[in-house]
Subunit: 362 residues, 2 copies
C-alpha cells in the first residue's frame, strides 16, 4: 500500500529512507555475510555503530564534555525510578512539577525513594498550562537534589518554551520533544528520553547525565540501575538493544543531513502552525483546549462540539490515509502528533482535511 | 556476501528466513502503508503481534496457567536485580549456586537487596563442573525464598542436565538454553532469559513467573521494577520493544514449524556431538576443559596446546567463513556457540575444519 500519514503519539512515523536502509541491510550488513543484530556486541562492527550513534547525539544536541551520553533499556518509564534510586537514597529530597500524565508517573516513582515536593500542580487548569519559569516564580526547596520537569506532555499537548533558572540541576523527561530544538545543556543534570518519537523505535532510552550529578549517584544499587556502571561501560555493561541503536544512528544521520536542530525546530514550528491556524480559522467548529502560550509544536490537540463529531472526523481521516488522530483515552478529543519525520505535506494534508470537514459538518 | 556460519555466543545467528521476512515487511507491514515499529503499541496490529508472541512462548514451552509470561526491557542483567528487589525486601534470604560468570552477577545483585547464601561454589574446579542435583545433596537453607541457578553458563560451557528438587521455588537464568529442551515448569518460580540466543535480537528479556511467587512480590517498588504491575499490564505497562517482540514471534513460528522443543533438543545434541567427537578424535591436539557430564550442547569450548595455536585456528576459521570462535576474554581458548538457528551443516563445516587444522598443525 502507498505510504500513509501516521499521526500516532509514539511509536510514530519514522523517516521512510531509514526504514528502506534497514530493509536493505538487515540480512547482510556491510557485506559481512550476517546481520548486524547477529554480531557480537563486542565486535568492531557493532562497537562502531554504537559509538557513531553516541557521537551523533553529542554532535547534533551539542552535548558538552561535562555530560555523559548513555543508551539504556526499559524506556523512559525505567528512568522514572532510576533517577530517584540514584539521587534520593537516604531520605534526600527533590522538587517536581506536576504538568500532566507523564509528570505524574515520574512523581510516583520519586516517592518510592525519597522526599518529593510537588512545587507546582496544573490540576486547576486540567493540566492545560505550565508555570511561568521566570526566576523567583517557582517556590523551590533550598536543599532539593534536583527539579524534575517534563519538557513536553504528549497527552495534554503542552511544552515548556523556556526552562527555569534554579540552583538545583534540572532533571527532565524529554521523550517527546528531544531533537526538535536546541537545549541549554548546562542547566540539566539529567535528560532522559524514550526513543520512540524523534529518535527511533521503542525499546531504548537516551540518558544524558552531567558529571557532577553522576558523582552524587548512589553506589549501592543493582547493576542495571547504576548510572556510574553504565558510564564506565559506555552503555555496553550488558548487551545493548543493538537494533534500536543502529536505527538511532540512521535517524540521526538523516536529521544531520536535513540540517539538524535548526531545521527540526523550523519544521516543527511550520507543521504545528498549519494546524493551529486551521483550528483558529474554524473557531466556531474546532477548539484548542490548551493555553496557547505553551501549546506544543509536537502534539496538537483540538476538540469538536461533540464526541460524535470527533469520532466521525477520526474515522473519515483514517479512510483518507491520515492515521492515529484519536486523542489519548484519558482525555478524548483529537490529537495530531507531528514529530521530525512527519513531512510538511502531512500537516498540510491534515489541515486541508480539517478545512473540508468543518465546512461539511459545521 | 554469501552467508557465513556465525558461532558468536550472543547476539548470535538468527534464522535467515526470519531476517528475510523482516526485510520484506519493515517498510510496509501487512499492506498498512507503515512499518509495524511506527504503529501505536495500543493498536490492534501491534497488540496482535504482542499477544501472538506471548501465546507462542506458552504453547512451545508448555507453560501452564499457573505461570505468567512477560517481555521486559533491560535484558537478563535487569533481572539479576529485579528478582531480589521483588522477593528479598525486608531482610529475606535466598540460596544461590555459583556456577560461573553469569551466576556471579546474579549473586552480586542479590546481595544488594537481601541475605544471600551461596550454597555451592564451583571455584575449585575453575567453574568447569556443577553439583549433583540429587535430593539431599544441596545444603539448602530452610527459609530461603528461592534457589537461584544459571541453567547454562555460556562462558564456561556447562549446563544443568537435571534441575534440583528442593522445597523452595527455583529461580533460573535460562538466557542461553531456553527453547533448546523441555522444561519441568512446575519447579520454577521465575525463569528469565535475555532474548539474544534462541529467541531473537538483544533488547528484551523473557520472564516467566509462577502466580504464587508473584503474590509474594513486593508492592513497594518503582513502576518498572514491579512484576505485579507488568503482569497487570500484560507487558504493555509502557511501550514495549516492539521490534524484538515481532522478531520473537517470527523466530517462534519458525521453531514451531521445525518441530518445537523436541526438534531443538535433538538438533542441539547432534550439533554438539559432532564437535565433542572431533575434540575426542584429536585428543592429542584438542582438549575439552569441562566436566563432560555437564558439557553444554549450546557452547562447546576447547583448547589447543598453546595460545598461539588457538589464535591461528580462530584466524584461519574466520577466513574460511567460520566466525566468532574466540573464547570469552576472561577464559581464553576456543568456543563454538551453536544455538537453534545454527544449521547442522555449520557444525559439520566447523568439525571438518578442526579435523584439517589438527592434521596440518599436529
Amino acid at each position: 500500500m502507498a505510504r500513509i500519514y501516521n499521526f500516532s503519539a509514539g511509536p510514530c512515523t519514522l523517516p521512510v529512507e531509514v526504514l528502506e536502509q534497514v530493509s536493505d541491510q538487515i540480512v547482510d550488513y556491510g557485506n559481512t555475510g550476517m546481520s548486524l543484530i547477529e554480531m557480537s556486541h563486542r565486535s568492531k562492527m557493532v562497537d562502531g555503530v554504537h559509538c557513531a550513534a553516541l557521537d551523533l547525539v553529542r554532535e547534533i544536541l551539542n552535548v558538552p564534555e561535562s555530560h555523559h551520553v548513555l543508551f539504556l533499556g526499559g524506556g523512559a518509564t525505567m528512568q522514572f525510578g532510576m533517577v530517584p534510586a540514584n539521587l534520593l537514597a537516604g531520605g534526600k529530597s527533590a522538587d517536581y512539577i506536576h504538568s500532566g500524565a507523564w509528570a505524574k508517573k515520574a512523581i510516583a516513582d520519586g516517592k518510592a525513594f525519597g522526599d518529593v515536593n510537588v512545587i507546582w500542580d496544573g490540576k486547576e487548569s486540567s493540566y492545560m498550562t505550565l508555570p511561568d519559569p521566570a526566576p523567583g516564580n517557582l517556590n523551590v526547596t533550598p536543599d532539593a537534589q534536583y527539579l524534575h520537569l517534563t519538557s513536553n506532555e504528549t497527552i495534554g499537548g503542552i511544552q515548556w518554551k523556556r526552562f527555569p533558572d534554579v540552583k538545583a540541576p534540572l532533571v527532565c523527561d524529554m521523550s517527546s520533544d528531544i531533537f526538535s530544538r536546541p537545549i541549554p545543556m548546562e542547566k540539566f543534570g539529567i535528560i532522559y528520553a524514550g526513543a520512540q518519537k524523534n529518535l527511533g523505535p521503542a525499546g531504548v532510552a537516551l540518558v544524558i547525565i552531567r558529571d557532577d550529578v553522576l558523582q552524587q549517584c548512589s553506589d549501592d544499587l543493582p547493576l542495571y540501575m547504576n548510572y556510574k556502571k553504565h558510564v564506565d561501560g559506555n552503555s555496553m555493561l550488558n548487551t545493548p538493544p543493538v537494533f534500536q541503536i543502529w536505527m538511532i544512528k540512521l535517524v540521526l544521520e538523516w536529521l544531520k543531513g536535513k540540517g539538524g536542530l535548526e531545521w527540526a525546530q523550523e519544521m516543527a514550528a511550520r507543521r504545528s502552525q498549519i494546524l493551529y491556524d486551521m483550528v483558529d480559522r474554524h473557531s466556531e467548529f474546532y477548539r484548542c483546549p490548551v493555553d496557547r502560550a505553551v501549546a506544543s509544536p509536537m502534539n496538537v490537540v483540538w476538540r469538536c462540539a461533540t464526541e460524535e463529531l470527533e469520532a466521525k472526523l477520526i474515522k473519515e481521516a483514517t479512510a483518507a490515509g491520515l492515521d492515529g488522530l484519536k486523542g489519548h483515552r484519558s482525555v478524548g478529543g483529537c490529537r495530531a502528533s507531528i514529530y521530525n519525520a512527519m513531512p510538511l505535506e502531512g500537516a498540510q494534508a491534515l489541515a486541508d482535511f480539517m478545512n473540508e470537514f468543518a465546512q461539511s459538518n459545521g
